[in-house]
Symmetry: C2
Subunit: 160 residues, 2 copies
């Protein structure tokens, strides 16, 4: 159409559209790199990162969901698929009979250890090598401000 709906100021709109494009392209690039180099999807990698972040390489399903901002059912389905491939295993929870742990297997640990260097190198090359210290600082501030606004309408992550 010739007339452009009610929209943002021109500069903001351009920034917004470029931002959206970045958020489509960057994860896609990281996904392709991981898939090609390590046969892991980006979600696979995200799960493995959560697990390696934990002291024992094991995390409760609900904590995974919170950490990843996924629904529990998505975690459960995804873990099932990763379990089939030997990357993780389930373990029952002694403290709370309802609960379940997801545990990193040796294969899973090997997978992320082999995948991480190239992944990190890609992140560095695509993003951080491009940033001046000042830019990084501004970015960090902006990200925090926007996240703060997101968490107001969505206390403690309603959908996560």
């Amino acid at each position: 159409m010739t007339d452009e709906l009610s929209w943002l100021p021109a500069d903001s709109e351009r920034l917004w559209r470029r931002w959206l494009r970045l958020n489509a392209l960057l994860p896609a690039a990281l996904h392709r790199q991981l898939q090609a180099d390590a046969d892991l999807s980006l979600p696979d990698f995200d799960v493995l990162v959560q697990l390696t972040d934990s002291p024992e390489g094991r995390v409760r399903v609900s904590d995974l969901a919170r950490g990843l901002h996924w629904e529990r059912s998505r975690v459960s389905h995804h873990v099932t698929r990763m379990e089939r491939r030997g990357l993780v295993a389930r373990e029952e929870c002694r403290d709370d009979g309802r609960g379940a742990f997801v545990v990193l297997t040796p294969e899973g640990r090997t997978a992320i250890e082999q995948a991480a260097p190239a992944h990190v190198a890609t992140v560095r090359r695509l993003v951080f090598d491009a940033l001046t210290p000042h830019e990084a600082e501004v970015m960090a501030g902006v990200v925090e401000k926007v996240l703060a606004r997101l968490e107001v309408g969505d206390p403690a992550g309603a959908s996560a």
Copy 2:
């Protein structure tokens, strides 16, 4: 695990993780808002924006794919679903017998005109109201730099 793989400098890593979180939460928030207020998904909205951007409200399937950075087959499937709901229609292409146009229907135009104000208000509230002019300028520069790097390894959007 106790030891943290090979990773980024601490500041960069924090920024990276917060950025990832932002890019998970922000689209989710926009999606919820659109769904609740206008019964449109975020991908639906993206398609409608592409169509309203075009002078006649009609775009070739391949151009949609390029503009959205989707695969053609995804466009085709999605258009089929939107067509069922009356938001768009297909139209054959006179110049090139292989081609197909996707056209905005009156219903589709109404849908996006009704959805846009609240959507834009949400974007404004969550993002742009938080930015100082200087921050916006820095962000714009950063986004461009990263996009430039992405387009090097992926000329003209290999996957789009």
